[in-house]
């Protein structure tokens, strides 16, 4: 299958190809320089970070920063915690977003618009004010974490994987995004299935979702990185070291008066790698375009 995304855009006739290339290089420069700065800082000796302002290349390259960062931040354990929470969150969010997004986009049911607005509305309230009620709620879950039937006596879901995971199980953003994509698909695609007696379930998973692979990938990447990069919620919900996530682990590098920049940067780079890998894996879906013939039902 040839790469179809490339030729179909008419805008390419407006501007010569060279201009695209120049624009792309400029765009890249805006991103390469700060990133290069982070990478080289992660390879400097501790004393060299601020003593030679304006230089990009380290005098001495210190690769040990990476193993040292791994050792000092209990990375293995924190990595496992982050991975468990982020993967479960991603799976759950993708499925729920597809289901709800499809219903909101393609099925006309009473209260649909209201529900959609409600979902949008939940995006507007900042976490700073919903965090405490949610926290108290999770502490009061009956029969969990040593609680009695009335939710007293124990700590409920505080300091547990469930507690860590709960706010990431569903995302209004993911639902909204899938709705927008399902909205843009032609109804003819569904008709064929329906005439054969297929249900909405079939249409959703067999036809629409495969066609929305880039959108699904976007929801998945975003779900993963939101859970992976979350700081505030794991901070308040965890007590034991054994439940901490990577983002909390990174704070070990900044203390009052001292920040171990090279180790911090090495840690940041390593913590970012899984998201980067996920993005690279998902990239393919953004270049394939829609499978040939899919629309010629």
């Amino acid at each position: 299958m040839r790469d179809r995304s490339i030729n179909h855009l008419p805008i390419q006739h407006l501007v010569p190809r060279a201009a695209f290339q120049i624009g792309a290089v400029l765009l890249a420069a805006l991103y390469v320089l700060p990133v290069l700065f982070v990478v080289t800082m992660s390879l400097r000796p501790a004393g060299e970070v601020f003593t030679r302002p304006g230089t990009i290349w380290p005098d001495t390259w210190r690769w040990q920063n990476y193993p040292e960062a791994i050792q000092s931040a209990s990375f293995g354990l924190f990595f496992a915690n982050s991975a468990i929470v982020s993967l479960l969150a991603t799976g759950c969010q993708v499925v729920l977003s597809c289901l709800a997004g499809y219903a909101l986009a393609r099925i006309s049911f009473p209260g649909r618009t209201l529900l959609f607005l409600l979902i949008l509305a939940t995006l507007i309230v900042p976490q700073q004010v919903t965090m405490v009620p949610l926290f108290v709620m999770l502490k009061k879950v009956p029969l969990a974490g040593g609680n009695d039937l009335l939710g007293d006596g124990g700590i409920g879901f505080l300091n547990s994987y469930v507690g860590l995971l709960i706010p990431h199980l569903v995302s209004p953003l993911g639902i909204f995004l899938m709705r927008q994509f399902y909205l843009s698909l032609p109804e003819e695609l569904a008709d064929a299935v329906r005439i054969d007696g297929g249900s909405d379930w079939t249409i959703l998973w067999r036809i629409f979702t495969p066609l929305s692979k880039p959108a699904v990938m976007t929801v998945a990447i975003f779900a993963f990185q939101n859970a992976w990069n979350d700081f505030l919620w794991p901070l308040v919900i965890t007590k034991s070291n054994s439940l901490k996530t990577l983002q909390l682990g990174l704070t070990i590098f900044y203390q009052e008066n001292t920040t171990q920049w090279p180790l911090l940067m090495a840690g940041i780079i390593m913590v970012s790698l899984p998201i980067l890998l996920l993005f690279l894996a998902g990239q393919r879906t953004f270049t394939q375009g829609i499978a040939a013939g899919a629309l010629k039902g």
């Binding site: 501790a46 004393g47 970070v49 601020f50 003593t51 000092s72 965090m131 405490v132 009620p133 926290f135 108290v136 709620m137 502490k139 009061k140 939710g151 007293d152 700590i155 505080l158 700081f231 505030l232 901070l235 308040v236 007590k239 034991s240 070291n241 704070t251 070990i252 900044y254 203390q255 009052e256 008066n257 001292t258 920040t259 171990q260 920049w261």
Partner: protein, 448 residues
């Protein structure tokens, strides 16, 4: 058909009921969190070192740990404690300083405050005033070590006549300067300024400009993204003889002394000796370490900062005793000291006290301070091993400490002051307006 309809309704009804129930639960919890906590157990007999408190699991929230500090706790401090108190198991929890207060208050809202915790500089009154900390006078009154603490530093752990925590460090501010910049400017590094006039005259010589722009401040005032400016002002306010409040508790910033202090501070910015553009970042080299300032008010942290960010600067940093307003007045400074305290909801206050006393004892406080690079709150540590090579001025300054007046709304008050001062040094408001503004806003806060 009717089945479907009823199902729909029941679903809706179910959702509504679930939401209502959950909301009611949370409200009840918000309302009852402190009430459901068991009342503090009867005061202990008051043994300074309770011989054998009940066996207990003791949660301890340690703020701002480095790996070295964690190792010290796990391998030395906790095992040593368990030798004395085999029945008490310490459950070590940690948080970084930046988000610590949020973590603690959220836990408090759900009634899950740790049994013992680090209490940051100005948290004593805000936490004690709202009933999150347990008063510990019953223990400290019989604690022989109490006499070892610097008086001003110990007072910082009190609120309304009661003691709530025990300080482990003294973060005392004093004059710090770059001796190499002094030499370059023709000043004698052995004769640092001692009065306001001398300080300003030195700043005028030390400031460096490039095309009209300040590239090195004569005096840096510790402006940061937090409340650094307020902390600097607190000292010059006290040096001028001013106070936060009148004896009957009204804000007193617009007093003649307060105005004198602010006029002096603002004059550095008006005269181009200091610049509003030099903002200290918590994770970056501080002004003197980066070479963008020649003198400042700082604690020993500036040395620690230099050691980790730019070692070459360390020998060039010199400290002098706190300033006095003029030759006839007394040197005055302030300190913001971290402490260990006991949560109000603890079920094991005796064990909690034993742990706090252990942490702040000479031996174990010394170990922590040697690792975190800070000055002791105890006089008997002034000559301890870890103090060798540290400039004694940083600890002598603790004798000149005037404590910050405790107020349960202190966290808000310092923000009000900091913000108003920021407007004053940006020359957006006159010193008179600024202080009136502070008085008005502070009285709103403390009267509510």
């Amino acid at each position: 058909m009717s089945l479907h309809r009823s199902m729909r309704f029941s679903r809706r009804a179910f959702l509504g009921t679930a939401a209502t129930l959950a909301a009611a639960q949370v409200l009840a919890a918000c309302a009852s969190a402190p009430a459901t906590n068991p009342p503090a157990t009867t005061p202990a007999t008051g043994n300074a070192q309770p011989a054998a408190p009940q066996s207990a699991q003791l949660q301890f929230m340690l703020l701002g740990p480095s790996n070295e500090l964690l190792d010290a706790f796990n391998q030395k401090i906790i095992p040593a404690f368990n030798q004395k108190q085999p029945g008490v198991k310490i459950d070590l929890q940690t948080s970084d300083w930046g988000s610590a207060f949020q973590k603690i208050t959220t836990a408090a809202a759900a009634g899950t405050l740790p049994d013992t915790l680090t209490v940051g500089g100005i948290w004593t009154a805000p936490l004690a005033g709202k009933g999150a900390l347990r008063a510990i006078d019953e223990y400290t009154n019989k604690w022989p070590d109490k006499a070892q603490f610097y008086e001003g530093v110990w007072k910082d752990a009190q609120y309304k006549g009661q003691t709530y925590c025990v300080p482990y460090n003294s973060d005392t501010r004093t004059v710090v300067y770059r001796s190499d910049f002094f030499q370059d400017a023709g000043l004698d590094p052995a004769k640092p300024p001692t009065t306001w006039d001398e300080y300003k005259a030195a700043a005028a010589k030390l400031v460096k400009k490039d095309g009209g722009q300040v590239v090195r401040e004569g005096a840096n005032w510790g402006i940061d993204t937090s409340i650094g400016l307020q902390q600097a002002y607190a000292q010059i306010l006290f040096q001028a003889g001013g106070t936060y409040y009148t004896p009957d508790g009204k804000p007193n910033f617009s007093s003649p002394e307060g105005l004198k202090a602010l006029n002096w501070l603002v004059s550095f910015f008006k005269d181009g000796l200091s610049s509003v553009h030099f903002v200290n970042q918590p994770n970056a080299p501080s002004s003197l370490v980066a070479g963008t300032g020649a003198m400042t008010y700082a604690n020993y942290g500036v040395i620690t900062n230099a050691q980790s960010m730019n070692k070459e600067v360390v020998p060039k940093l010199k400290a002098a005793l706190p300033l006095k307003m003029d030759a006839s007045s007394k040197p005055v400074t302030s300190s913001w000291n971290n402490k260990y305290g006991i949560g109000k909801t603890t079920k094991a206050p005796d064990a909690g006290w034993a742990w706090v006393a252990h942490l702040t004892s000479a031996e174990w406080a010394a170990l922590q301070l040697s690792i975190i690079g800070q000055m002791p709150a105890r006089k008997d540590l002034a000559n301890a091993d870890f103090m060798k090579g540290r400039d004694p001025v940083f600890i002598e300054a603790a004798n000149d400490v005037v404590p910050q007046p405790p107020n349960p709304e202190m966290l808000q008050i310092v923000q009000i002051i900091n913000k108003a001062l920021d407007a004053a040094i940006h020359l957006q408001a006159t010193p008179e307006q600024t202080l009136k503004d502070i008085d008005a806003k502070v009285s709103e806060v403390i009267n509510v």
